[in-house]
Amino acid sequence: MNESLLLALLIVLPSGWCAVLGASWMLGARWPERPVARITTACYAAVLLIVAALWWQLFASGKAQLYALYGNWFEVGHYHFPIALWADYLSLPLLTLSALLTLIVSVFSRTYIHRDAGFFRFFVLLNLFGSGILLFFAAGSFDLMIGGWEIVGVTSILLIAFFQHRDDPVTSALRVFATYRACDVGLLVGVVLMHIFVGTSEFAEVLPNNIAPHTPLVGNAATIVAFLLLLAAMGKAAQVPFSGWLPRAMEGPTPSSAIFYGALSVHAGAYLLLRAQPLIESSLLVAEAIIAIGLLTAIHGTLVGRTCADAKTGLAYATMTQLGIIFVEIGFGLTRMAIWHIVGHALLRTMQFLRAPSLLHDHHRLHAAAAGHLSETGKHFEKLLPPNIQHWLYRLALDRGHHDNFLDRLVIAPVVRLARKLQRIEAKLIGEKANASRAPLTAKAGLIQNAEGADV
C-alpha cells in the first residue's frame, strides 16, 4: 500500500468507527457492550499495524519523512487550508504510542467500565480522542494540528465530566476547559501569524528540509510565534502557572486519566514544541523561557506531589514533574532525549494509572514480599533543609503553590467584578433590576462563586 493510503487510513479508521457509533446512537440503536469494545480494540490493532507499515516504509525508502497531500479542505482567494499528513522520526514514535495505548486502554476499559451507564459514551469519546490525537500527531501542517488539538481538548472535558450526575466533576471540567481555551489562543494566533509571516503553516515549507535547510521564520517573527506556541503547550502540558487543572482532571474515570493525563494528551504540548524546535532554536529567549518554566514546574510538581493523599492526584503531580523535565530537555535542544523521555514516561504512567485502583492491594503484596520492611523514599532530600523551610514548603505544597488562588484573585475575580459593575450600570440605564448578585466573590471548587454558593 502506498503511504498516502496508509496515512489516510490512520485517521479514517478510528474516526469512521466513532461516526458509526455516534450516528447509530442518534438513530436510536442500542449496542451491547461486547461488540463496541471488541471493534474498538480491533480498530486500534489495525491502526497499530498501519503504523508498523509506515515505519517499514520510512526505513525502506530512506526518506526523512512520509508526506501525503490530499488537496485543500477549503480555499478563498489565495488562502487555502491544505489537508496534508506527515510521518517522520518525531511523529511515528508518538503515533505508535497512541495506537498502542488506546488499544490497551480499550481492553482495560472493557472490564473496568463494564455495566456502567456511561459505557457506550465512554467508548464513543475514546474513539473521538483516538481520532483527534492521531490527527494531531500525523498532521502535516500546524493548521491541521489545531484540529486534532481541539478535538483532544473537547474530549478531555467530556471525559472529566463523565460522572455527570455529580456536581464536582462538572465544575472541574469547566475549570479545565477555561484553562485550555485561554492557552489555545496562543496556538490559534501563532498559526495565523505563521500564515502572515511566511504565507503557509505546512511543515514542508515552514520547517527545514532537504531543499531549504533553514526555516523561513527567523528573527522577531520566529520569537513571537514560538512564544505563542509555548503558551499553548503550557496549557496542555499543565506547566506553571497553568498547572492547577491537572489534579482536577482526575475526576474522570481511571482509563481516561491514564490515556489523557498519564500518556498522550499531556504530551501533546511537548510534541508541539518539538515540532516547532527550529523556531525555538532561532530564539534564545524562548529556549530560556522553556527551561525556566520546565524547571519551575518540575519543582512545583515534586513538592506538591509529596503532600497528596490520593493515588491519582499523586500520579498527576508526578506526571507534571516529568513534563517539566521534558520541557527543560526541549529548551536545551535535546530533541532525541525528549522523545525517548516522552515514550518511556507515557508507558510507565499509563501502567501506574491503570494500576491505581488496585494500589492498596499492590502495596500489601509488596509489603508482604519485602517481609514488612518497605522503606520510605525521598526523605533524605527533605532532611537536607532546615525545619522552618520544611514547614513553609509543606504549607506551600499543601495549598498547591497558591496557583489557583492567584489565578482566581488576579485574573478571574477582577473580570467578573468588572462585568457585574457593567451589568448594574446597564440595568440602571434601561431601568431594569440588576441580574447579577451583589454578594462578595469567593473562589471555591474551581469556579468563581458568590457567597450564597451559586456559581456565576
Binding site: 479542505w73 477549503f74 478563498v76 462585568a419
Partner: protein, 482 residues
Amino acid sequence: MFNSFVIPWLSLSVLIPLVAAFFVGKLNDLPRARRASVAALAMSLVTTLIANFAVARHPEAKFTEALWQCFAIDALNAIPLTLFAALCLGVAILAPKHNLTPSWLAGVLWLCATTTAAYAANHLIVFALAWAGSLAPFLVMRFFASANNERTIPAFAQRVLWLSLICLCIGAGLLIYAAPDWSLAFVRTGESSLLFTAFGFLMAAVILRKGLFPAHSWVVTAFEHGPLLPLVLLVNDHLGAFLVARIVLPLLPDVAHSAWPFFSALSLFTAVYAAVLALAERQPRRVFALVAISQSAFVLTGLESNTAVGIAGALVLWQVVSVATTMMAAVYAGLEARLGAAFQADKFMGLALNAPRLAVFFAVGCLALVGLPLTLGFPAEDLLLQGTLATNPYLGVILPIVTAMNAFSAVRLFARIFLGKPVAAAHDLADALPRERWALTTAFLFLVLGGLFPSALIKLPAIAAERLAGKAAHVVQSLRLP
C-alpha cells in the same frame, strides 16, 4: 452577468409564506395550522433551493425575474435566502405546543416572507419595506403576544427597533434622492455630504438592529422577556450585516472606506463587551443572548476587514451563528415548555440523564457557535481570523480571546442545563420527540457535515467576498491616485 428566471421562484418564495400567513392566522385548529405552516415553509424552501441551484451553476451571475426586476439572487444572498427559509421551517416544526397558537405560526410565516423579500430585494424601497415588515410582528402586530402580555417584547426593545426603522428610512430616502434610479445596481464615488449623511443613518440602523454597543441591551432584554424562537429568527436574519454587504459596501465604497476603522472597532468592542458580560451572567436566556451578540458582532468585523478571506469568513460565520443559535434556542424552548417553572438553570440541573439527545444537540450548537473543530464554526473562525489578522493585528488577536470567553460561557450554560446532580423535575423528562429529532438532526448534520466538507458552503460566500473585496481594493487604489 445578468440572467433571468422564467418562473418567478423568488417571488414565489415570498408570496407562498405571505399568503399562508393570512390563511393560517385565521385557523382555529392548531395541528392543522402547524401542518399548513410547515407545508408553506417547505414550499418556500424548495423555491429558494431551485433559485440557489441556478446560482451554484453560474456563481458569477446575478439572476432576476423575467416578469419584474423586483427581486434578484446572486452569490451573496443565495445561501442566506435558503438558510432563513430552512430556519423558519425548523422553528415551525420545533415550536413546543405550550403557548403555541395559529397566530404564532402565522408570525413565523410572515417573518419568513418579509426577510426573504429583504434578502432578495433588488430595489432600495423593496428592501426598506421588507425590513419594516420583518419588524412588524414585534412592533405593531400581535402574532407572538401571549394572552396576558400586552407587548411582544419590552418597550425599551421596541423603541430601539422603531429607531432603527426610522434611521433606515432616512438613509434609504437620502440614497434614493441621490441616485439616478432606485435599483441597487449603481455605484457612487466621491464624498458628498449627502452620501455621508445617508451612510451615517444606514449604519445607525445597522447598529440598532444588530444590537451593537451601545444598542445591545435591547437584544438581551428581549431575549429575557420575549418569545425566544421568533426573537432568534429576528436576530438571525442578520439584516444589519446584509445591509452592509448589499448596500453600504457596494454603493458607498469610498464613504465606507473612510469610516470603517470606527465601525470595525465598534463591532469588536461589542464582541468583547458582550463576552465579558456573559461571564458574570446567571440568567440563561441572557447568557444565550450575550453570547449570540458577541459572536454575531464578528460577522460585521469580518465584513469590514476589506479582505476576501475575512469577508468570506464573516459570511460563513453568519450561517454558523444562525443555525447554531436556532438549534440551541429550540432545545432551550423545548425544555422550558417541558419543565415550566421548574426550569431554573442558575445551578446544575442534570437534564442529560433523561434527555441525552437534546444534550448532544445543544452541545454541538455550543461547539459550532464558538468555532470548535468537526463543525462549520471551525473553518468560519479560521477564515475570519486569517482575514482580520492580515489587516488589523490587534483585531485578530482579540478575536480568539473573545471566542475563548464565549466558549466558556456557552459550555457553562450547557453544563448548568444538562450536567450535574439531576433536579427532581428531571426524572420524568422526555428526550427529543420524533419531530424534534428530525429537525434538530438536520441542523446537526448541517453543522457537522459542513465542518467536515466545508467547500460546498464556502464556495458562494467566497465568490461574493472576492467581489466585495475587489470593490474595496478598487476604492483604496482610487483614493491613492493623485
